[in-house]
């Protein structure tokens, strides 16, 4: 595919840091994040943002890790806003005082997306392995008081799907503009914890019915996005709207990626924006061109009527489940590997629902059949001399 046929990025996700006070069991950061290099400094981020904006990017997310841990966040927001970006802060809420919310508003921040893990303190605190439920409730009020549009994001899994009605009620009470019910996507820490997080198809259908009923009842005041649980829906998602099509992730160390998790794919050398321009990385790098267009697709995808809608689904999912990043997304009924997805769902059906109560234990690295995201666990799971594979391909 020639550069002329490739459109510029629309979305830039600036992962400012992998540092995070939370230890979420479904974190989308790489398992081996603790081994990654130094964070970009303020000046380099400004240059990178300027280059991305010059390409035509419009939406900018400040993410992480927890972006509020960067004390230059206000300076980066002001720079980005000056460039004309629409600026989104994607945060756990930890560190967002009323004073900082106002300072960010003055700097030009447009919108805040706040994560919640559940409608109950017990489960929120267990899943994050922190005492953060009350703090998040206070932060939601701070965000609204400061006049921001607010999106609440809640990652959904076996533990909190039965609470979906109460999560919707909580978001309404907090006056959220949008509620994103993000069914777990199995990459990074979520992939590692998939056996415990995976709901049954019935649990998903029950929750979805509650969402649909609420949509009809509420007449659209608070919009709810129900992210498709693609294993159960058996329909490949148009991942990132296509590889290198609209989405540019910049990792804390400056590596440019087409999505949060592509870095673990073998055989791809992703450019680092410390020494490569955003333009060159986006248009010219072999890694960004690897899965553009249709030439790389399997016969199954290349001849499928859905290929322009779903772009053959997700490369990371294909790799994790089949061992081949160019394979048909295994959630697709046409995939030769769909049986592996069905086996995971069947396994969830055979497991008993998690035994209550799940209690937050300070400093715990594991609990309830889950490992918590954290530096020590990251180093242990990605030890290059250990024999275990951090992301084993399902046999």
């Amino acid at each position: 595919m020639t550069a002329a046929a490739v459109k510029p990025p629309f979305w830039v996700l600036a992962e400012l840091t992998y540092r995070c006070p939370l230890h979420c069991v479904f974190c989308s950061n790489p398992i081996d994040y603790a081994r990654h290099g130094q964070e970009l400094d303020t000046g380099t981020w400004k240059r990178v943002l300027g280059e991305a904006r010059a390409l035509g990017a419009v939406q900018l997310g400040f993410s992480g890790g927890e972006p509020l841990l960067r004390d230059d966040l206000e300076e980066l927001v002001a720079h980005a806003r000056g460039l004309g970006f629409y600026t989104n802060l994607i945060t756990s809420g930890v560190g967002l005082t009323a004073a900082r919310a106002r300072a960010l508003k003055t700097a030009g921040l447009d919108h805040i997306q706040l994560s919640f893990q559940d409608s109950t303190r017990e489960l929120n605190d267990f899943i994050t392995s922190t005492r953060t439920f009350e703090l998040k409730s206070r932060v939601a009020a701070i965000i609204k008081d400061a006049g921001y549009p607010m999106v609440l994001n809640c990652v959904m899994h076996r533990f909190n799907l039965p609470h979906v009605g109460r999560i919707i009620d909580m978001a309404e009470r907090m006056d959220a503009d949008f509620l994103e019910l993000a069914n777990t996507q199995y990459y990074g820490w979520a992939w590692h914890n998939r056996a415990a997080l995976m709901p049954t198809i019935d649990e998903l259908r029950d929750a979805e019915a509650i969402v649909m009923a609420h949509r009809q009842r509420s007449n659209g005041r608070m919009k709810i996005l129900w992210v498709s649980p693609d294993y159960a829906d058996a329909r490949p998602k148009p991942c990132m709207a296509g590889w290198g099509a609209v989405f540019l992730v910049v990792a804390p160390d400056g590596v440019a990626l087409p999505c949060h998790s592509a870095r673990m794919l073998p055989g791809l050398d992703f450019p680092n924006l410390r020494d490569t321009s955003a333009r060159s990385a986006w248009f010219d790098s072999a890694a960004f061109n690897a899965y553009r267009g249709e030439a790389w697709m399997s016969d199954t995808c290349g001849s499928c009527d859905e290929r322009e809608r779903d772009h053959a689904g997700c490369r990371c999912q294909a790799f994790l489940v089949t061992g081949d990043a160019a394979a048909t997304d295994p959630v697709c009924p046409k995939s030769d590997h769909r049986d592996r997805i069905d086996a995971m769902l069947a396994d969830a059906g055979r497991r008993a629902a998690p035994a209550a109560p799940l209690r937050f234990v300070p400093g715990a690295s594991q609990g309830g059949g889950l490992v918590f995201r954290g530096d020590a666990m990251s180093l242990a799971l990605s030890d290059p001399v250990a024999t275990r594979d951090p992301c084993p391909v399902i046999p």
């Binding site: 979305w11 419009v58 997310g61 004309g84 989104n88 919108h111 999106v151 503009d177």
Partner: protein, 88 residues
């Protein structure tokens, strides 16, 4: 129904700006963008909370040397209001 005397403004959730790369005015909102056609952009640019609907109609008729734009402006504003783009 749009009140001719009301003074519509772009809702706080949205930001209106010209995008060089799109060669168009756009409405930006959390994680998204609407690309506006020329008439929509010309109306929304004037929704500043100070001009009344009647004044917007008058300005547009003058700027584009057209008459009887009232129905078009009202129809667009009703739609924009339904979508939450403007507040009256």
């Amino acid at each position: 129904m749009i009140d001719s005397a009301s003074r519509p403004a772009v809702a706080p959730m949205y930001r209106l700006q010209f995008e060089q790369a799109q060669d168009a005015w756009v409405l930006l909102y959390p994680e998204g963008m609407v690309r506006l056609n020329m008439p929509a952009a010309e109306i929304l640019r004037r929704c500043d909370g100070r001009r009344s609907v009647d004044e917007i109609v008058g300005e547009l008729e003058l700027a584009f040397a057209r008459s009887a734009l009232r129905d078009d402006v009202h129809a667009f504003l009703a739609q924009a209001s339904d979508r939450g783009w403007v507040m009256q």
